[in-house]
Amino acid sequence: MRRSASVLLLMWLGVQVVLGQTSPALADSDRQAERQTLVQSLRGVAPDLMIDDPNVRAAMLRVPRHRFVPDGLQDQAYLDKPVPIGHGQTISQPTVVALMTQLADVDDTHKVLEVGTGSGYQAAILAQLTDQVYTIEIIDPLARDARERLTNLGYNRIQTRPGDGYYGWSEQAPFDRILVTAAAAHIPPPLLEQLKPGGRMIIPVGPRWGAQTLMLVTKDQAGETTTESLLPVRFVPLTSKSLR
């Protein structure tokens, strides 16, 4: 009897050793290897819209995306797909997050406003690039969860607030960069007003569940605003030979 128990114990230990060697995901609780694979696979959406900013890639490598994804969908955390986070919202596709961050062209002197905190993932990426990140979420439970999550993960410098992003964050304005994560029928004038001359605003436009286009809004030194429609951002393939 004792001998059988010893054999079973040895077998169990053997299985653990084998699993530890062959399954990095099980061994790597931070899922660094998966993140690395994902970030390496991010290319872009067109030859002139490549994800090639090393700072953005480094930021995406550092932020544990799986901590922003619901428990039941952990297997999708490192796929290049949007993932539902409840309340009809999604955590954006990594390609979209990377492109929006790159187009925002954030440096460490910039004050950045994000409208639509969602899970907090985009804010965490931005926080890798600057210490001045402000984010607003209109859906209370999402705002509450995101604040708690960001605090638990140590992103203490990100300022979060539940509220209506249409009006921006006037107490902290002006902003060098504004990222809007929800499509709008028009560009909110309060946000344009809170954008510094020379500032950039990134908005995905189009139906929430359809093909969306990233739009870049720029404000020149005279305060005049122009928009630029970039390419569609949804359903981007994980990799593309044409972009390698």
């Binding site: 290319r43 959406v45 067109a46 030859p47 797909k81 949007p82 539902p84 409840g86 309340h87 009809g88 919202q89 209109i138 859906i139 209370d140 439970p141 539940p162 209506d164 249409y166 709008a184 029928a185 028009h186 560009i187 909110p188 004038p189 309060p190 344009l192 007003e193 436009v205 139906p207 929430r208 569940w209 359809g210 093909a211 286009t213 739009m215 809004v217 005049e224 605003t225 122009t226 928009t227 630029e228 429609s229 390419l231 569609p232 951002v233 949804r234 359903f235 981007v236 393939p237 593309s240 044409s242 972009l243």
Partner: protein, 584 residues
């Protein structure tokens, strides 16, 4: 038990009629249920579901024919009672299935939810059909009488839905169908047991209804549900109509101002929002006079070409947004065609939150755009039509008679000498609706002997395009007026007599030079060459083929791949699959 040559009792025929009414009524009502919960185009699966239910019941009855004949009355009682119960239960269950239908394109696991969703509606069809087929095998010698009862009940059930939804909620209508099946239980066999079962079922069904246990609500991903998650959001009013569920929502995050200029500093006006089947519609303005920001809205371009104090006609009124724009421009008269009677009552303040959402004096006509022009010949100074541009393919099977070449001619014939026809639409990354509109306009003008290059203007921002078609050539004064409007509010001109490419694509940059090139090709008569190389079919629609939202062309796939590289699939839509699956 029931010899095939013994005639069925009248009460049984009545029971058959009631069950048939319940089945077909439920089938028609499902088009509304699915539209509210998910997507109305999905309704194409309903006929298949009904047929599958009948096929399964037929197969079942064939397999157990002898047993069913021996205990026919019991089978009838059980099937009718089960139908009465599973009808509301299937609807309740369907609302709890976690399915994000639009994510189907990139999350194949959504197919599981979709399968469960469809399966839960299959059960009542099977049970209802079991009742019908049991009647047919037990009284096979009297097929004619059974068919008469079945078809009469089916017709009554089908007709009852559009009629009943004029006066009651969808949930109440479903309760009536369940009660009809409960009544069938009583009529199937005389006796205390069936009366007790019927009464018990009726009690359960009424209880479910009274505790609001049969809520038909949009799925979590639909815009109404999302808005309801925001703090202080509340539904002010809700009504079912035969073709849509209208909901008025008040929420702090509503800031609709479609087409407002980026140069405008005004905030969106106070508003609530109208939803159609849980999908966002137009803002309903909570104002008494037209807000000044209306001067900066792109649709105001139409009034730059119109005479002073214009007579205005609005088609596809929606929530009245365009009416407020028209009212800002000091019109002599505003008329609007709106078919939906409940929406008319809502907008005029006769229903709903009891306040008008339209400017004073707007005359609402209960008819389609085409019928309006047939019944009320002009002259009109401004006619405005707003066209939403749904995801490509989703409306591929929908007919539109207000955007055909013939419709354009009708409108242009009703314009005053200085009149203008304005069509407002969305622009996609790869334009479709806007190009078909200009193609249609140019063909209509040519058929009327007019040169399109002198009668067409177009203006856009980053999202909206307004096509302007005039009866008389656009003279220098009107050209200057439109140019000044575009400059002031930072809109881009797309077409105008004498417009140069350097004057376009200035404020809202689009790749490949914006829309100037394609519009020029259509206006100058090079449409055929352009169309041959374009990814989508943007040929004009006609009354003989009025499928305005059908753009797919197989030859265009190569062009899409070439133009957009790895993102080419984003320009297609799985909506076409529904259309093709439906035999379109």
């Amino acid at each position: 038990m029931h010899p095939a040559d013994a005639p069925p009792r009248r009460t049984l025929l009545l029971a058959l009629g009631l069950v048939a009414a319940g089945i077909v009524g439920f089938e028609v009502a499902l088009t509304r249920i699915i539209a509210i919960q998910h997507l109305h185009h999905l309704a194409s699966v309903i006929v298949a579901l009904g047929l599958l239910g009948f096929a399964a019941a037929g197969a079942f009855v064939s397999l157990f024919a002898d047993a069913i004949r021996r205990h026919g009355a019991a089978w009838l009682t059980v099937s009718a009672a089960s139908f009465a119960l599973t009808l509301p239960l299937s609807v309740i269950l369907s609302g709890h299935i976690d399915m994000t239908l639009p994510a189907l394109a990139w999350r194949p696991e959504e197919l599981i939810g979709f399968g469960l969703y469809v399966a839960c509606f299959l059960t009542p069809f099977f049970l209802g059909a079991l009742f019908v087929t049991t009647c047919f095998i037990c009284w096979s010698g009297h097929i004619g009488q059974l068919y008469a009862a079945d078809l009469t009940g089916s017709a009554a059930g089908a007709l009852s839905v559009p009629l009943a939804l004029q006066v009651m909620a969808l949930e109440s209508l479903l309760t009536f169908f369940s009660l009809a099946a409960a009544m069938a239980v009583v009529l199937t066999r005389s006796g205390a047991r069936n009366r007790a079962i019927g009464a018990g079922l009726a009690g359960i069904v009424i209880a479910i209804h009274n505790i609001n246990g049969l809520p038909i609500q949009p799925a979590e991903y639909k815009e109404l549900s999302i808005q309801l998650n925001t703090r202080d959001a509340r539904i002010l009013w809700e009504r079912d109509t035969p073709d849509t569920r209208l909901t008025v929502l008040d929420a702090p995050g509503l800031h609709g101002a479609p087409g407002m200029s980026i140069a405008s500093t005004a905030e969106a006006p106070a508003q609530v929002r109208l939803f159609f089947d849980g999908d966002p519609g137009a803002p309903l303005l909570d104002v008494t006079t037209p807000p000044p920001l209306m001067q900066s809205v792109i649709s105001s371009a139409a009034f730059q070409l119109a005479p002073p104090k214009p007579k205005v006609l609005l088609h596809s009124l929606g929530g009245g947004w365009q009416a407020w724009i028209a009212a800002f421009h000091d019109p002599e008269r505003i008329q609007a065609s709106e078919e939906n009677a409940t929406l008319r009552r809502l907008l005029t303040g006769d229903a709903g939150p009891a306040r008008p959402y339209l400017p004073a004096g707007v005359e609402l006509e209960p008819m389609t755009a085409r019928r309006f022009h047939a019944a009320h010949p002009g002259p009109l100074d401004v006619v405005m039509l707003t066209i939403s541009a749904p995801e490509a393919g989703l409306a591929a099977g929908t007919v539109r008679y207000d955007t055909t070449v013939e419709a354009f001619r009708d409108v242009l014939a009703d314009l005053s000498e200085d009149g203008v026809y304005a069509i407002v639409t969305d622009i996609k990354a790869m334009p479709q609706h806007s190009l078909r509109l200009v193609a249609t306009a140019t063909r209509a003008l040519r058929q009327m002997g007019k040169a399109p290059s002198r009668h067409i203007a177009a203006i856009r921002d980053w999202r909206n395009l307004v096509l302007l078609v005039t009866r008389a050539p656009i003279d220098d004064d009107r050209q200057q007026s439109l140019r000044a409007f575009a400059d002031r509010w930072r809109f881009d001109l797309v077409a105008l007599p004498g417009l140069r490419e350097a004057d376009t694509n200035r404020f809202h940059h689009r790749r490949n030079g914006g829309l100037y090139g394609p519009f020029k090709a259509f206006i100058e008569g090079e449409a055929t060459t352009y169309q041959e190389s374009y990814a989508f079919d943007v040929e004009p629609t006609t009354d003989d083929s009025p499928f305005f939202d059908r753009f797919f062309r197989r030859q265009g796939l190569a062009t899409l791949r070439e133009t957009f590289g790895p993102t080419w699939r984003a320009h297609l839509s799985w909506g076409y699959l529904l259309h093709w699956a439906g035999g379109g």
